[in-house]
Symmetry: C2
Subunit: 340 residues, 2 copies
């Protein structure tokens, strides 16, 4: 692999001149420039990014830490992050934590040693972890996307939706369209955003003068199958349930499946509503009504925010004040809900 020195020798100049031609950092005589460029072309020289990063203390690489790439929402966020990063000349290292705090911690440790310029995280744990605190303490650039803890608001850079409000609205819609027995399928209570969605559900019920019946709250056990079983059980014990709000589209897919298998008509007998609006939700039978999150856009914003931090830090040595982007959600009405 040819290096800058070789190019310099062949072109009869010094390495710094080659560097200058490449970086455009200062004026180089047109003639010299062309000579160097020619040699570069002929030798197929390409600068060693490692050496450059070592020298500059920056790698132009960011690390995206996600709980699971198999969860349908993350590829969309990832795409937003990646497109944006590429546009700004950054590469992204993708790390899957598999919803495991240990793995998350180990990855951050590993990536932090000047490897990456910043992180975009979907935190695994509900409670704040020391390593995220440490990142903050050390003024290491990072942004939290989709998942965050309440106490971080105003402290950290966050891109999220208003989970409470969005759910409140969605469940209110269900109530206002005549549903009277609304169940909910909630994801792991370890995750703050699921708690928020549950709160929104409860508040909507209460504010409309309805009772919150704990028997109608389905909690995530181990794996998605449990929602399948729970839905069946729910409908057997509470056949008058007329709507099931699901805190994520994939959960709604499972609920839909269970309802189908029980020969319960959707939406005639029970309405089903999801949360996310992943592309597939429109293909379901019936097409799923859901709360849409601008996932791609959230990825874009997270990356933009992070790069802004990185650049700011490089210039001034400090991080800009934290910003919390709260994105708009929207209720998408398809065929899995109806007016009673």
């Amino acid at each position: 692999m040819v290096n800058i020195k070789t190019v310099a020798t062949i072109a009869g100049v010094s390495p710094s001149t080659v560097s200058r031609v490449l970086g455009g950092t200062s004026y180089v005589k047109q003639e010299t420039k062309e000579k160097v460029l020619k040699v570069i072309r002929e030798t197929g020289y390409a600068p060693n990014a490692l050496a450059k990063s070592l020298k500059e203390g920056r790698s132009n690489t960011i690390c995206l830490l996600m709980p699971s790439i198999q969860n349908l929402i993350f590829p969309i966020i990832t795409q937003g992050v990646e497109d944006t990063a590429r546009k700004h000349g950054f590469s992204v290292i993708l790390c899957n934590t598999n919803e495991d705090v240990q793995v998350e911690s180990a990855y951050i440790d590993k990536m932090r040693q000047r490897w990456v310029d910043g992180f975009i995280l979907c935190e695994v744990a509900k409670d704040n972890t020391e390593y995220v605190d440490a990142l903050h303490q050390e003024q290491f650039p990072f942004v939290l996307v989709a998942r965050f803890n309440p106490q971080d608001q105003g402290q950290l850079n966050i891109v999220s939706v208003d989970n409470y409000g969005a759910t409140y609205q969605a469940v209110s819609h269900l109530i206002e369209t005549g549903h009277r027995q609304i169940a909910i399928a909630v994801g792991s209570e370890q995750l703050h955003f699921y708690e928020e969605r549950l709160r929104g559900y409860q508040a909507a019920l209460t504010d409309h003068g309805m009772e919150v019946n704990p028997a109608l709250i389905l909690n995530q056990g181990s794996g998605d199958e449990s929602f399948y079983a729970q839905t069946k059980c729910l409908m057997e014990t509470h056949p008058t349930v007329d709507a099931i709000f699901c805190t994520a589209d994939p959960k709604a897919f499972v609920v839909l499946r269970a309802l189908h298998d029980m020969k319960i008509q959707v939406p005639t007998q029970v309405s089903v509503m999801g949360f996310d609006n992943v592309p597939l939700s429109a293909l379901m039978e019936p097409p799923l009504s859901t709360v849409s999150q601008p996932l791609y856009q959230m990825g874009v914003l997270a990356a933009t925010n992070l790069i802004k931090q990185i650049l700011h830090k490089e210039k001034s040595g400090t991080l800009p004040p934290p910003v919390h982007d709260v994105m708009q959600t929207e209720i998408i009405l398809r065929k899995s809900t109806c007016i009673r």
Copy 2:
């Protein structure tokens, strides 16, 4: 950020000793070792991976280039790659080519400069591209996963399934269960594996004494919507079609949707079969019969193969002979097909 020199100074030894303690490359007096370790712990020192890579000429990073992370099969492959890489101490950089040859080429160029030790590629183009040839020429470690070109067999490292054979079997199954008018939804003919699947379909038909009717071959136009429209059109012009074989599960989802919307019963009136067996296919209505590919395992094998190459090259300076792993597929019968 504390570096090796600082640690050395505090511990009262030389940087080389610290390096030796860390690398375990040669004997260090127990006492010295403990002293150094203590300082490392106290200072929170962590080696700079960049500097290490620059020195060693290896980054312990591989690059995974995929056409689209939003395509349901890739996250699964990715997971296999990542899990395996992590197990061997490698990180993976994920690059999305968005099915664009330009982007693919640019990424390879960018990543190759000693950044990454090897590539796992899902090629975008049908014809061999110069940059892949160049990789091969230069003995740069890489493996092709899922997508490859016929002329590469025996030349390059490949992990794939027998697309022709798998489709032949699946379509034969359809024929043997009484289907007489079998349509096919084929993906972009720019991709060799879709061609293979089409060939398998044609051969199965021919071998069973049936005619290949071009009107029953649906080709991918722009985007998935086109299959929606094409399916509708097909069923209107050829209402006697009794099965549609889809060359990928997501295409089957669209076909299912179109059939539903036309109030055509699946499988009573027409059977639908997919290819991939992504997890979601079991949740469809009706649950999708499909040809399963061991996607996760393919990721695992690709990563294993690549790492083997990297290690071999480091030891001997040459690449091991190429291997082509052909994985087993399996017909999964669910509820979208039946016996006529």
